[in-house]
Subunit: 469 residues, 2 copies
């Protein structure tokens, strides 16, 4: 139903009967053409139209992935890697048909090296599974997109989340990858050392390439020490500018904020309705600090002083795990709360990222844009990074909602880009933001295309994503 | 005089008289074929044989760089970008002759955005120049290789230094680049937003590509707040293992060390001789903490407790700027002190990086290797990253010294790689470590070659570096 799906569809290149037979013989029940499974693998969590693959194969090992890719390469059949199916820009739509390679059963944690604070895992491990496994080691993996994504998918889309301001995104937290290329070669991108100046940064080339250059089959990640103590504050502000200014000043002073989320007034209103809470319906910061008890006490004092100077009012604090969870619950339920504003709606979640000095301006202009339209929408920001999300609430039965959301989204992207920002801070391009990327980095996109053509000359790996060839 | 220079040299492709005339006409005095200048631009600070270019051009703008590249591309003439000439692996040797493009006069600081904590500069700005410029802003740029390198060169070689454990390397600190490609196109790799999931990570592709994929003409960098307070400790240990274990535990506990340098016994002896100091001649940590006064006091207590448990003795502390400088002076003079161990010698400085759990073992085996040979050498480590340097002291008149240093270096690289480490943590490949990289990531090097062939089909950009084509 999305407005531009017709531009996304590619000429059909399905699975030839001969290849279908080969795959069925070789992989038995791991290979399926069942409708329900194909449909499930064609449908994202975003607003995008579904494009179902012709078949789905559940891979068990890098060697299998390599064998499948070789067979598909011989037949020039598209292969689309798939993790948890939680991406938001149609990143795994089978735009030309073909085979979806589901990696979720490759979910082994291969090694955890506590002294080195790293681990090596298969791509189907989810972030939640990994952190449960790590619980007794004193370590954790911080990158936390909202969804229960697989780490492979998170690497492929260069995901981040609420902790990025302190711990970085997938870009900073992947040490090395094993990747299967379009001709079936299995390649390691780097060694396990934390630092390297050894040739081109292949790791970073594959992180964020959305399965268009290779299929990730193993990942070595940085881990971090679980902090001795944590504290959370929820602080409403008189103005959005005041909230953003507080964050800018905290970062300039080197206060090591672990998380800092901004929920706008509309979002706070939605939360109160949904969770029956009594939060002030104002632009609000959710802040988390990690450190020693004494360190946190100091950080809290500094935050309070800055917040008061910038129109922050009556912050609520929590340091016990239960209270912290209770406060964060409001943030975690933001999406559901938004959806409840318009019962029966589906969310179209978009994101942009701007230099933080422009963030307040960008959010306020976007807010005005939404208010001037018929659209219901809320905003949540990873404000420390200048990254924010808009959730458009769309009635699936009203095509005009898609048209309007699309118009507002285009204006949002153009606004962010005019402020030296980017069309996506953490969701990736998929096929939903191809034109946005072209507008952002046209000569750069030409370089991306050259690399794609070299590494995947027949365009079999997740075709039609990031750019048009 | 280096042992394998004969493998590095490429078939000569000098500057044709016609091109020489064109460049002279167009660029006047900025273009020169004077012997002294050519020689200066062929000679690195490393142990490598010089390879002089046929001419040198001092560029003033991206448009000039683009014009020069287009002219050279028409004539298939090699172009070698050059910053401060401080790289260590022959990274700017003119292996096939050609034109060296000196970017040191492109040294303008274009913009500093304090609220966003970033700046945009030309590639010829040195890290020292940048930090002097920033002095009154409360911000600084942390990446500090030993030499007075240009930021362009540091980006091209993915440099780091003593602050990387806290602030990251060039990989983490470059936000965006402007690059001139092999056909003269001027490309921006990213916007100024801190985070982006917009397509392939072109920024990271060019960072560390050593001028083989493009010539960097503008750089946007992250800046950091100057900490409220700093403190430095020098702490000798009973054993190298104890020193490394202390660092591992500090990192696991999340103590935000700003710098942690390990100097081995041989290096401490050299320092005492050179600086007439009375340091204990034992394996020694130099540690620096940044933060608030209270935060630092807490970090010092935690460090002391861990150090004592691991055989640390009588640490010397300093917090005033003068005392801190005095203590760090010993570290900064390590190279000169080493050279004084063998008057008249030249240093061959190599580096490797291993997972930190293997660091003590790797250093001890290397130390035993050196003691069993005729070679004089010292070691210094950025221990928080698992990265360390060996300085071989070579008599330029003794070819057997090169042979022996080369043998020890090969063994060092193989040892680091066997421990899942890399052949270089921060110096890059140049032509000195081509075989080492091949051994480390052979299939990966094939991918690098594909990318090089696509973006520079005539191999005109810094040919013969990182890999053989």
């Amino acid at each position: 139903m999305s407005v531009d799906a017709k531009h996304a569809r590619l000429p059909y290149r399905g699975i030839q009967p001969e290849l279908k037979q080969l795959l069925a013989e070789r992989f038995g029940e791991a290979f399926t053409t069942a409708d329900a499974i194909r449909e499930q693998h064609g449908r994202g969590e975003g607003y995008h139209q579904s494009f179902d693959p012709d078949a789905v194969l559940f891979a068990q090992s890098a060697e299998q992935v390599s064998a499948v890719v070789k067979l598909c390469a011989e037949h020039r059949t598209p292969i689309i890697p798939y993790g948890a199916g939680t991406s938001l820009e149609g990143n795994f739509a089978a735009l030309a048909g073909g085979l979806t390679l589901d990696l979720s059963q490759m979910d082994r944690i291969i090694a955890v090296n506590s002294e080195d604070m790293d681990c090596t895992i298969q791509p189907g491990v989810t972030r939640i599974q990994l952190n449960e496994y790590l619980r007794d080691t004193g370590l954790f993996f911080p990158v936390d997109p909202g969804a229960t994504a697989t780490i492979g998918g998170m690497a492929a889309t260069r995901a981040s989340g609420t902790n990025a301001v302190r711990y970085g995104t997938m870009r900073e937290n992947v040490i090395a990858l094993e990747v299967v290329l379009a001709d079936g070669r299995i390649v390691r991108t780097a060694r396990r050392a934390r630092k390297s100046a050894a040739g081109y940064d292949l790791t970073r080339l594959f992180v964020g390439s959305e399965g268009t250059l290779g299929i990730i089959t193993e990942i070595t990640l940085k881990l971090h020490g679980i902090p001795e103590a944590s504290a959370v504050a929820v602080c409403p502000f008189d103005s959005l500018e005041g909230a953003v200014k507080t964050v800018i000043q905290m970062i300039q002073m080197g206060i090591p904020i672990a998380r800092v989320e901004l929920l706008d007034r509309a979002q706070m209103r939605a939360l109160n309705l949904w969770s029956k809470t009594q939060h002030a319906e104002r632009d609000t910061l959710f802040v988390e600090f990690h450190g020693s008890e004494a360190g946190i006490a100091e950080q809290i004092e500094m935050f309070k002083a800055l917040a008061v100077d910038n129109g922050g009012r009556d912050p609520v604090w929590a340091s016990s795990p239960e209270e912290r969870s209770r406060l964060w619950k409001a943030r975690h339920e933001a999406l559901y709360a938004s959806m409840a504003l318009r019962p029966g709606s589906r969310p179209w979640t978009t994101d942009v990222c701007v230099p933080i000095s422009r963030l307040a301006e960008c959010i306020l202009q976007t807010s005005a844009d939404i208010e001037a339209s018929s659209m219901t929408a809320t905003m949540v920001g990873h404000v420390g990074d200048g990254n924010f999300h808009v959730v458009f609430l769309i009635d699936p039965n009203r095509p005009e909602d898609f048209v309007e959301a699309s118009r507002l989204n285009d204006r949002l992207v153009a606004r962010a880009q005019a402020m030296e920002g980017t069309c996506t801070g953490e969701h990736g391009i998929g096929w939903g933001k191809i034109d946005a990327l072209e507008a952002e980095l046209s000569e750069g996109v030409a370089v991306m295309r050259s690399i794609k053509r070299t590494l995947d000359p027949d365009n079999i790996l997740n075709p039609g994503k990031i750019f048009r060839l």
